[in-house]
Symmetry: C2
DNA sequence: CACCCGGATTGGTCTATGCCAATCTATCAA
DNA sequence: TTGATAGATTGGCATAGACCAATCCGGGTG
């Protein structure tokens, strides 16, 4: 196996930070290049992978530091707040946009409404300990009068659906895939462009099998772990129309 | 929003390949650098992200090509074979190693057996249409006589457990996170080092709640999508000891 | 003391270039 | 026809250097 040089550098940096704690500074890229007798480009490639791994964080003008060993996980996105709270994080969310829009072809199919139907669109930035961890755009069919006000009052989207509109989620289908951050997402999430992300699409159904939400979430891959608990056999029923 | 040049190049390449079909060649890196009036380094960074996105594939000595729009998905890893078959892929697996080993501390905790207990280790490369898509290491507790022979006979690990040892999975907990490919994984999966991967850990329980497997799977992020179907409420019971 | 500003530091991007490794192709020989 | 081989092509890795942008720090000013 031919191992490129930047991979050796990566190992050496890992050895360096083994004795350090979260938040401790790592030597500058120029220093590392000199001590490892290599170029800054090679050091940067090694550091980039360590950042993607969640081992380091770096900020322009400040430096590079050992990352917090913070892998947050949620069991179900519907209990996002509880999960994070129980693990000691302070969950929060910032509503970036909330509006009524006309459903395009794909959205109509996902929500099983006629194309052009008016649906609600809720765009939020989800945070933990005031740090952005996910960008989320939810689409909800049906009339939901005063959604903005109620959501603002209760904070939680699912609590709002339950308490204000008597909508109770019974089944969710999540699809999880990887993506790489584009400049917009990177800016929102406070990570580098090109960083691996977890892209999660969620279809939520109530007890009748009616689609009550279709949501696209983008999580920072270096901070997050998704957990799914599945029964074998009985639950293996696809949500019709939920897959591409 | 400041958008770096390589991102513009990425967009321009996307425009180029919009009219092309899967397998069609893309101009060489040196050509692209010239037509976009930039350096090869910048072109390579743009291409690297497009490869991570699953839009392009490239091979040393051959060139760069438009990728197949192949996003495979499985609903449950326990029905890997059925899921892929039903979507037209030809699933297969290659047993790389199968042995009995002593459980170290972490493995013992995961499987809920004493440290040092003998457990089975099954390392496989999973394929679809003869293309590697996942590297999987399964650990199984308890005596499973002639496991290698039976697994070789039936092909499927879950079928073997069910038919030969009367072990039926009832509940699985999957955790999904991102990772980047190291040289070994890249070689096994046929992708670039540094490419985003889906790292999935699975704990499988039978009806009694006994842990019957603990498995670590690494999927190519550019080809794969994980699907989880979850009931809301009742199923939200953590698998004790399954989380770090 | 509080504030502002300018230089030094550090990461972010881009260039130009060289050589290596895998592949393909055209040629030549058996 | 078949097979080996040498050269050209293409991506893979690494270098050295330049300049930009964000941050930090220290000194001067009010």
């Amino acid at each position: 196996m031919k191992v490129p040089k930047y991979f050796h550098v990566k190992s050496q940096i890992l050895a360096l930070i083994a004795d350090l704690g979260p938040g401790d500074p790592v030597p500058t890229e120029r220093d590392l290049a000199e001590t490892f007798a290599t170029s800054r480009t090679t050091v940067r490639k090694a550091i980039a992978e360590l950042v993607a791994d969640g081992r380091l964080v770096h900020t322009q003008g400040r430096g590079t530091f050992v990352a917090e060993p913070k892998l947050m996980q949620v069991r179900q996105l519907t209990s996002f707040s509880q999960d994070l709270t129980s693990e000691g994080w302070r969950p929060g969310s910032v509503v970036l946009d909330i509006a009524e829009v006309a459903a395009d072809a794909e959205l109509a199919a996902r929500l099983r409404v006629p194309e052009g139907a008016r649906v609600h669109r809720v765009e939020r930035l989800r945070t933990a300990a005031d740090e952005p961890i996910a960008h989320e755009v939810a689409h909800l069919p049906g009339p939901l009068p005063r959604l903005a006000e109620e959501l603002d009052r209760l904070g939680s989207l699912y609590a709002t659906l339950r308490e204000c509109y008597d909508i109770e989620l019974a089944l969710v289908e999540d699809t999880v895939e990887t993506a790489v951050a584009d400049p917009q997402q990177a800016a929102l999430l406070g990570c580098d462009t090109g960083q691996p992300l977890l892209l999660i699409h969620r279809t939520g159904l109530d007890v009748d099998g009616t689609v009550v939400e279709w949501t696209r979430s983008v999580f920072r891959g270096d901070r997050f772990r998704f957990v799914a608990l599945q029964r074998v056999g009985a639950d293996a029923v696809p949500v019709a129309g939920a897959s591409k």
